[in-house]
Symmetry: C2
Subunit: 285 residues, 2 copies
Amino acid sequence: MSTYTAITVPTQFVEANGIRFAYRRWGRQGGIPLVFNQHFTGNLDNWDPAVLDGLTPEREVILFNNAGIASSTGEVPSTFAGMARNAETFIDALGLKQIDLLGFSIGGMVAQQITVDRPELIHKLVLVGTAPPNHDAGDGQGHITPETAAIFGATYNPPENLWLKVFFTDSEASQVAGRAFLKRYLSRTENRDAPINEKVAPAQIAAVGEWGTHPGDRFAYLKDISQPTLVVSGNHDVIVYTVNSLHLVQNLPNAKLILYPDSNHGSWYQNHEDFVFEVNRFLNT
Amino acid sequence: MSTYTAITVPTQFVEANGIRFAYRRWGRQGGIPLVFNQHFTGNLDNWDPAVLDGLTPEREVILFNNAGIASSTGEVPSTFAGMARNAETFIDALGLKQIDLLGFSIGGMVAQQITVDRPELIHKLVLVGTAPPNHDAGDGQGHITPETAAIFGATYNPPENLWLKVFFTDSEASQVAGRAFLKRYLSRTENRDAPINEKVAPAQIAAVGEWGTHPGDRFAYLKDISQPTLVVSGNHDVIVYTVNSLHLVQNLPNAKLILYPDSNHGSWYQNHEDFVFEVNRFLNT
């Protein structure tokens, strides 16, 4: 068993299909590892250390940058299908035969696609703050909510205060939780990941647009995901509307939903102790 | 600590305000008791023994027939406000100063009203398969869902098979869980409760109609319920539509939601082990 934490775990690299993938892997070995799929514009540092350090005593955790993100080489595809193929290349490169899969926000869309592509590979699925194909995004253009456009369109000083708006509600309690999260997010001071380049956001936004116009029956795609699934969201998620989590559990064959009070897109960071408890329980049984 | 179970606990009576209330009270003493509010046409026997016997090792449980139900005397009011006043009379008659409150289906509507009336009395709230005022009931008349009208309008042989349709989905797994529930429901063979009379259902249906036409802002009423609340529903509840649970947690100040997969109005009976675990954890912390 490693003694790394989210702050100290080194970044490693593996090359496959012409892409050099950056990843971090640590935690209790011997079981099924949990692979994380990251949100819009996020890199290896954007995961909450409190969640990671809560999970690693019970399981191995694998974070990675998909192709074209930060310290990984390659190009970001403009569809989640393309991102899923790259993720599958990474997972195969590590020689993994069975994994648990977690996806947050657009990472949850990639995770759904990986599960459809490679059902034999996926043991259980954790979907946080995400949506099925043909998601509800209000009247936003390109299947992005109006709040998302406004929040990402504003400027922040310091820049990381963006996440106080993306992940937390405007309540005092949620903003206090947000500042605690920012402290944890910045607590890795050495060997931080590289920044993303200017091609990442446009490609990811294009993928959301494509996701929102999936052909065929609205949610038929979900019937093919029979893995036990835990869906988690905030009760007031303005980035990926909460109702999408209801669509997920009403159309996935075997999904349990948890919604947290007074919380936005970062509900699991705001409620990291409860989230860690629920996920360990879900994955262990 | 009593050694009763749901099957052996005797029925007791307490009189207040001209009403003789039937109740059952047992379980681990010394903490805050949990008071249950029953569903449409249900009496003391309609609770799932598996849930009760899961909770009583950690807390005292109190079941009661509200006024006019089965072995309790009095009349069933035609509003939840009236039912709440009678419930408060019962709770006060037992001399309780603080309780946890659980409500199932229309019992959850009564529980919301009790909490609004007497906030100092209620420590925490558990709302199962229920709805806020001005609930969504599809195109059903009188704020009853079309499925409710069809299911309660049919005949069953034996009659208790009604609950296979009310509480469980049509999937094989859910129906298996339903037959296991029916066995538990019938396992109390001695000292069962009296049947309800013919006035109960019409009064309860009238109360649902009144609940569906609450005056003022649609969900403003919920802002006054600041108690920590756990909301539980099935992902396919056709009796009280699942979306009502989303309305609850999006408008209550402090409510967590759990939705169970492949489950209908009796989601907590189908998933009694998980439900008991979650409720004990919610009430103990």
